[in-house]
């Protein structure tokens, strides 16, 4: 049973977040370890495995990048552990510039940081809509490339969060 089936969701890139969260709560209840104290060791082990699987599935399905990667895996393309580098010069130059910009922000730049962060969010949205489209067209290599780019964008978002914490908390 794959993660989508486990959550009774269609195997598509767009998922209904509230259905996902509700199903997660239901499944968690159903397989809660407290329920298994009376079971035999073997049964308890199966139940524990199930509950781990539910958690893994939830972590994968709720994150757009992992979800796309998982859909690629189901389609036969496994990029989760790949170690090859991305060499798209224009894209990477832009990444460098953004990271330099993050480095240069100070606590007086709250508005600039907001604008910067909104721009990055827009880029993430665009990439996600590309991924949805590309998966629909079963363009696996193109999807994989967008997923790789998305990882760089998400890294930027993490860095913005860290910067904001450092400057404003």
């Amino acid at each position: 049973m794959n993660y989508f089936q486990l959550f009774s969701l269609p195997e598509t890139f767009s998922v209904d977040k509230s259905v996902l969260a509700n199903t997660y709560r239901e499944l968690q209840k159903q397989y809660h370890p407290d329920k298994f104290v009376m079971l035999s060791d073997a049964e308890r082990l199966t139940a524990m495995q199930k509950s781990t699987e539910i958690n893994d599935a939830y972590e994968t399905l709720k994150n757009s990048c992992l979800r796309a990667q998982y859909l690629l895996l189901l389609a036969g393309l496994d990029i989760a552990l790949e170690q090859r580098t991305l060499q798209d010069t224009d894209f990477l130059m832009q990444q460098m510039m953004w990271r330099e910009q993050i480095e240069s922000f100070s606590e007086d730049d709250e508005d600039e940081i907001d604008a910067f962060s909104a721009n990055i969010q827009q880029q993430v949205n665009d990439l996600e809509s590309n991924i949805g489209q590309q998966l629909q067209e079963e363009a696996l290599e193109a999807t994989a490339n967008s997923v790789r780019k998305l990882k760089f964008m998400l890294k930027l978002q993490t860095e913005i969060e860290q910067l904001e914490e450092k400057l404003f908390d």
Binding site: E82, Q83, T85, Q87, L92, V147, R148, K155
Partner: protein, 126 residues
């Protein structure tokens, strides 16, 4: 995770951080990124008329191992020909810095940055 002494040394005193003008014909620029973690590296080589690397600079936004790997290769490539530089492998970098298996992609980044820089130079001077 414990970093080796060599990694810490390069991380704390990175050699050759900086940039050359990427539009200069004698400058080779390699840009690479690791999707595994979202880190990016820029490696630049300054190449003399005899095809020998006279200087190298890098800028890396990444983990300690990636910074150490790029710092190390800027030292290694100086005085080498392009072909010699192209033969540097991530295994050599990993061995020199005693990187653990999870950090192999960081050294691959440095190896590929050299190759990307050489490609850039060749296409610029073709």
């Amino acid at each position: 995770m414990a970093y080796s002494e060599k990694v810490i040394d390069h991380y704390e005193n990175p050699r050759n951080v900086g940039s050359f003008d990427k539009d200069d014909k004698s400058v080779a620029t390699g840009m690479v990124g690791a999707p595994a973690c979202g880190d990016v590296m820029k490696l630049q080589l300054k190449i003399d008329d005899n095809g020998v690397i006279e200087d190298a600079k890098f800028k890396t936004y990444g983990c300690g191992s990636a910074i150490a790997s790029s710092s190390l290769v800027t030292e290694w490539v100086k005085g080498k020909t392009l072909d010699e530089a192209a033969s540097i492998t991530n295994t050599q970098i990993t061995a020199e810095l005693a990187l653990p298996p999870v950090k192999i992609h960081c050294s691959i980044l440095a190896e590929d940055a050299i190759k990307a820089a050489i490609d850039d130079y060749k296409s610029k001077n073709a």
